[in-house]
Amino acid sequence: MLDAIGLKTEEDLISYLPADVRFDRRLAIENGKSEFEIIEYFRSLAARNANGYASFLGAGVYHHYRPVLVDTIVSRGEFLTSYTPYQAEISQGTLTSIFEFQTMICQLTGMDVANASMYDGSSAVPEAAMMAVRVTRRDKVLVARTVHPEYREVLHTYTQHQGIPVEEFGYQKNGTVDLDELTRKLDESVAAVIVQSPNFFGLLEQIEELSSAVSRRGALLVVVFTEAVSLGIVRPPKEADIVVGELQSFAISPSYGGPYAGIIAAREKYIRQLPGRLVGETTDAAGNRAFCLTLATREQHIRREKATSNICTNQALLALMATVFMSVYGKQGLRELALQNLSKAHYLASKLDLRFDAPFFNEFVVRTDGRSPQQINSKLLGKNIIGGLPLERFYPELKDSMLLCATEMSRREDMDTIATAFSAVDVS
């Protein structure tokens, strides 16, 4: 091949690089390793993580069972190693599955349109805010303190330099948004009001009520979810204008925080303001149904500085995992799964001292009366249980509280152990 291009050695391929640019040393990276060594390396590191613990952490990342078919399907090279389906004629597999994904997200959320995926739930929040700003031509954003704290941080990071002031509003004694405070802050400059349901405390918000309050002021209601399984039994946020959320619960392993799949769905009329990729139905030259990427004029590769977002690569393979998950569980299964989560969480909650009394799905905040959450957690670690998330870090006022989550994977005996750890009479 070198002959063909008239060169002697591969080094000649970089001979024209300016000498003061060429890197002549060796990279300080160890020599290549064999497959076996690589596997051993990661296994030895994995051994230094939590292994064999029962976990009751939720807070945006949930421990649900992953049906075997999910990896069977996403491991097929035709899905795993294909690029973005720009060439529709040889990408109908990916395009069709995304169209099914978009449809199921609409069915779950009660929205009319959904895109092909966002990076994750957190980055979808600012995208929704900016979308609302474009739609309403207003600039302010109100966000509930009961929205996932890290999601709010991301919102602040995104909006700070776009002249989009962000204000937070608090929660009432029962742990759901303080509607009075919201109404006070809801002036004509507000483009979007962002709430989460189930909220960060696991509590359900009153979407209907919120929506009427918000729409009365001409703002858009953005509803966030982090626990997709809740949609199997909890009333969908039909009245929202935009719904964003995280699908990690749908067969995506926690994997120390990612990759996950964010979604953004909205009412039909906002479709041209959606960020990211959209798959649409059309026909091929033979007149048969076919699918392709559509409304690209919203996107950076066409619209450049005027695009609705700068997103390009998304989370397609994770969205496919969620699609397979939804297909495996289906209509009945997702409901039964949600009911099991509900029952497990309420069983555990029934033995503890709840901080808030609004209805909750599979997460809830408990008082650690007297002792610190850390004390209780370290006692649980001794019993191979990872307890709940101490809330002080995000909510100084909740110093004595932790957020616990139970899913279909939680075993009764572990929950009983937790109850014991909390109870004054300590058997350990």
Binding site: E10, N31, Q160, T282
Partner: protein
């Protein structure tokens, strides 16, 4: 003559919703080991949803068959050359998939105690180290989820730095050859974009640049090698011009596959850059994602890196959130972690030397194709090519055949097309990046196909204009799709009933 593919049968398949029949299901849950709580009681009627209308109801087997059938309609790198310029479609080693699924890693919760996450954190540290070494920069953040996300992070840091110096400035310069995410990013960070005309060699024009760089310019976003696959030979001078005016240089590292081991941006003046781990470092594209957009920065920018940062304290890793100047978070948790694991495995498999050899092979393959195709297609720029080569359809356009048509015809020959009509500065661009993992045999077949198509354009343009002729789905009408968008299935939808 078409050597690479034959026609065969693949299974048709309706949508999941059309396959559904009431009551079917593919799941089974373990028996509930706690009392059954009634949702209406514990949530209240108004909070309980009705059944999810039209949601799929299929057996486990139907799910597997459905997606197996759909998959056969896809092209993939596993099946053949995928020469998308600027996308670096290389082999995705399967051991990386395996290690990313190691139980203690795949099931690690981002909030589990740090003392029970040391393995995960060590992986982050190891990858940050390796990428800093590869780029020659001072620090790396792995939080961004993709390249565009990395650009956003990088430009935010530039803005934060300039603000800390008292003036965030107004404008960001972007060469007209840049990828769309560059200008889109600049806007997202509140800057106005000024496009720079490239010179006749496809590079940044120093005079144009001089003139453009004023005191209100925050930065230049440059891609190097640029999107025509050419190394910006004046890169040092370019950086100098901006630095002299107190502006910074952002490098889009999407084309880093051309530089790993042969040149380090940190050594030629770059202040901040992103890497697409799903390109240079071989993590699978998965039909559009996930990616990871690691961002490497020079010392001046380190205080502004996203929060949290990994830190070492009395012999163990910990997450440091106490970063007064940080731009904050760009994403929840610590990034697309599973992608990072794969990228590290890739780097370990190659080692320092192997990475450099991979780069040279990538250049070799690209230049080999350039040489074979130059007689038949108009080379956009004569400057030496690195990892990709860009042609224009000028010659074929005379016959009314455009780059998009040639691309579709390539499909009949058994190849995924190159990148079409990008970069925009090339009229009817054909942007070809083979990557280092392609065997010569596949490259020769590709060249044959391209040459044969060039002849077809002369002799029978219609054949090319109507392509593809061999796919299950002939040319798709994208115009109608956009005119009246149908983005979800609905039971009444005619199209759907006409399924089969």
């Amino acid at each position: 003559m078409i050597k690479k593919v034959s026609r065969h049968i693949v299974q048709n398949e309706p949508l999941l919703f059309e396959l559904s029949s009431p009551g079917k299901a593919g799941y089974q849950l373990p028996p509930l080991d706690v009392p059954d709580f009634n949702p209406e009681e514990v949530l209240g009627r108004s909070y309980v949803r009705d059944e999810i209308e039209d949601f799929p109801e299929v057996s486990e087997f139907e799910t597997l068959r459905h997606f197996s059938r759909l998959s056969t309609w896809n092209y993939a790198i596993d099946l053949g050359l995928y020469p998308l310029g600027s996308c670096t479609m290389k082999y995705n080693p399967r051991v990386n998939e395996l290690v990313a699924r190691t139980e203690g890693i795949a099931w690690a919760h981002p909030y589990q105690p740090e003392e029970l996450s040391q393995g995960c954190m060590e992986i982050v540290a190891a990858l940050e180290r390796a990428l800093a070494e590869i780029t020659g920069m001072d620090a790396v953040t792995l939080q961004p989820a993709a390249g565009a996300h990395g650009e956003f992070t990088g430009i935010l840091m530039i803005r934060a730095l300039l603000e800390s110096r008292g003036n965030a400035r107004k404008r960001i310069l972007v060469p007209d050859s840049a990828h769309g995410t560059n200008p889109a990013t600049a806007t997202a960070v509140g800057y106005t974009v000024e496009n720079l005309r490239s010179n006749d060699r496809g590079m940044v024009d120093l005079d144009v640049l001089e003139r453009a760089v004023t005191d209100d310019v925050a930065a230049l976003m440059i891609t190097n090698p640029n999107t025509v696959g050419v190394f910006e030979e004046n890169i040092r001078a370019i950086c100098g011009i901006l630095h002299d005016k107190g502006a910074l240089v952002y490098m889009d590292g999407a084309n880093m596959n051309a530089l790993v081991g042969v040149a380090r941006p940190g050594e030629f003046g770059i202040d901040v850059m992103h890497l697409n781990l799903h390109k240079t470092f071989s993590t699978p594209h998965g039909g559009g994602g996930p990616g990871a957009g690691a961002v490497a920065v020079a010392k001046v920018l380190t205080p502004f890196l996203p929060s949290p940062r990994l830190a070492r304290a009395d012999n163990r890793w910990t997450w440091n959130y106490d970063l007064p100047q940080s731009i904050g978070r760009v994403r929840a948790f610590y990034g697309n972690y599973g992608v990072l694991v794969r990228a590290l495995a890739y780097i370990m498999a190659h080692g320092g030397n192997g990475l450099r050899l991979a780069t040279l092979d990538a250049l070799l393959n690209a230049n080999y194709l350039r040489t074979l195709l130059e007689p038949y297609y108009e080379l956009a720029y004569k400057a030496p090519s690195m990892h990709e080569c860009v042609f224009s359809d000028d010659r074929q356009a005379k016959k009314g055949v455009r780059t998009g048509d040639i691309a579709k015809r390539l499909i009949d020959y058994g190849f995924h097309p190159y990148t079409v009509s990008f970069p925009l500065i090339v009229r009817g661009a054909l942007m070809i990046e083979p990557t280092e993992t392609e065997p010569k045999r596949e490259l020769d077949l590709f060249a044959d196909a391209m040459i044969s198509i060039a002849k077809e354009v002369e002799e029978n343009p219609e054949l090319v204009l109507k392509a593809p002729h061999s796919t299950r789905t002939p040319r798709v009408d994208e115009v109608t799709a956009a005119r009246k968008p149908i983005v979800r299935w609905k039971p009444e939808s005619k199209a759907s009933l006409a399924a089969d």
